[in-house]
Subunit: 301 residues, 2 copies
């Protein structure tokens, strides 16, 4: 089966009755599996994750968007997380049997629908971006909702879809396509935060490290450890094991060892097969050899 | 979904029209997915692999057995592979959501059906064995088909199910339940067969190595390498990475390095998750985090 994942973030994380109504749009959508949803009241934001064949996922995402736009009013929104709209981000993620190009086309179609039918301005970002300066979400969302009215008047920031005029209730919707990212943290047997930060710098892209690695150093006070907390944004091109070994090697230069690692949230099967090939030197291992792989999308009926 | 695998071996690998008819019994069985089948004419034997929910797999196995017993006549069978019956072995393998106990019960039920309904003697082996001396298939099959008539007269070798008298056309059926095994070969950068054989000895159970490892040393003439060829019969209890590291370490004592490894045939998802936890030190990684895991047994309809 083909499988597309979608992970919309909505600007409501306090009034859980609203969140439930938005999540219901996914729950009641045929052919879609709700994998997870969580709310953060400080951020005043919720993240909803679901998967299915492309068509049902697109239909569910439309319904979710319509529901959220109806229920969430940005004019009174407060929250510590950057945001520019009631439905703040809608990333489509190709999981199985869908090319990155096809996923980008899905994101673009969805954006056109939001702009044309719902009348809300849309910015495409990441792989769906229409120009390089819009790839980075932080840049697209700079100034946030509060600066959006002014931004929309600037021709440089004309929306990719939808009206140029500001819609106070809804703000703008940021739509993207991206490769599935892997959230990967490595815990180190030291309380010296400088070491974690130095290692983060040496492996992350912006300082000259691996192309598809974002990383920061954190202190884990209670555990008495520090952590190199990473997002690997394209594990096929920057393999997880290469990054893990690099962090381990850098840590050893300080005489510090790795206590353990954490994979946070969903991990694609392809990332697991990669670890298999890498560490076992099983160069020709194929995903088709995984017994359970044949059971995906198959009920036996 | 629950998933049970079955891998019958039948004593026909030359007349492929017969093999196709036997395989058709699986192809036409509702709720069963044929994963693989292959014939070896020297062995005069075929291996058929399929998977599905327990009930359909049991039904397909009955049909396969009836078909094969109808078409294969052991009185004129010749082949280089040890065998004791037309349907020589029927191993049931629990893959997902089925305990080893439940799988043993399935094997025992199937054996009772074969004995009572089809009138063919049955020996249970491996995890389905009724006594320790029948666990080992080589012992159960000792003397092979040619010695079976005499064996059945020996009270020590009374069949577990079915008649004590010899059925010349069919021989006996050996039925088992076992954990999924992993066929794992490690190729070494040397042509010295002694080194592969020494390493095989040091890691395999019978010489004092790991409990769930069978191993031999082989020469790969064309590739100019030698191979430690292994069956890991319980990867949960004897982990693949522990064995891989042990072989690597032993090889390094001879100054020999590992060129690569091969996983032959199907590999359970659990074995992949194990590699993940082991090499990445991702101690708390759960199979539920694998995105595709949620799509098993689900079509979206």
């Amino acid at each position: 089966m083909k499988a597309l994942m979608c992970v919309p973030n909505i600007s409501e994380g306090t009034d859980l009755s609203v969140v439930e109504k938005v999540v219901d749009a996914v729950r009641s959508a045929p052919g879609v599996m709700l994998l997870d949803y969580s709310s953060n009241s400080d951020h005043n934001r919720s993240v909803i994750t679901y998967i299915g064949q492309p068509k049902p996922v697109i239909a569910a995402t439309r319904k979710l968007t319509e529901t959220a736009l109806g229920l969430i009013d940005m004019t009174c929104h407060k929250g510590s997380h950057p945001r520019q709209g009631a439905v703040d981000v809608v990333p489509f993620i190709p999981i199985r049997g869908i090319t990155e190009e096809a996923s980008i086309a899905i994101a673009r179609d969805f954006g056109r629908y939001v702009g044309d039918t719902l009348g809300v301005p849309v910015y495409f970002y990441e792989d769906a971006a229409t120009r390089p300066e819009r790839q980075n979400l932080a840049k697209v969302r700079k100034g946030q909702y509060e600066a959006l009215a002014q931004k929309l008047e600037d021709p440089v920031w004309a929306p990719d879809e939808g009206p140029c005029q500001f819609v106070p209730k809804s703000g703008s919707i940021q739509v993207s396509s991206r490769f599935p990212l892997v959230a990967f943290n490595i815990n180190l047997a030291t309380t010296d935060l400088d070491i974690a930060q130095d290692i983060a710098k040496s492996v992350r892209f912006i300082n000259g490290g691996f192309r598809y690695v974002r990383a920061i150093g954190l202190s884990l006070e209670e555990a008495g450890m520090v952590q190199v907390s990473m997002n690997l944004t394209h594990y096929e091109k920057t393999p997880i094991p290469m990054v893990a070994e690099a962090v381990k090697r850098e840590a050893s230069r300080y005489g510090v060892s790795v206590v353990g690692t954490e994979l946070v949230g969903p991990v694609p099967l392809g990332a697991m097969a990669q670890i298999f090939r890498y560490y076992l030197q099983a160069h020709d291992f194929s995903m088709d050899q995984i017994i359970e792989n044949s059971l995906i999308g198959w009920t036996g009926e």
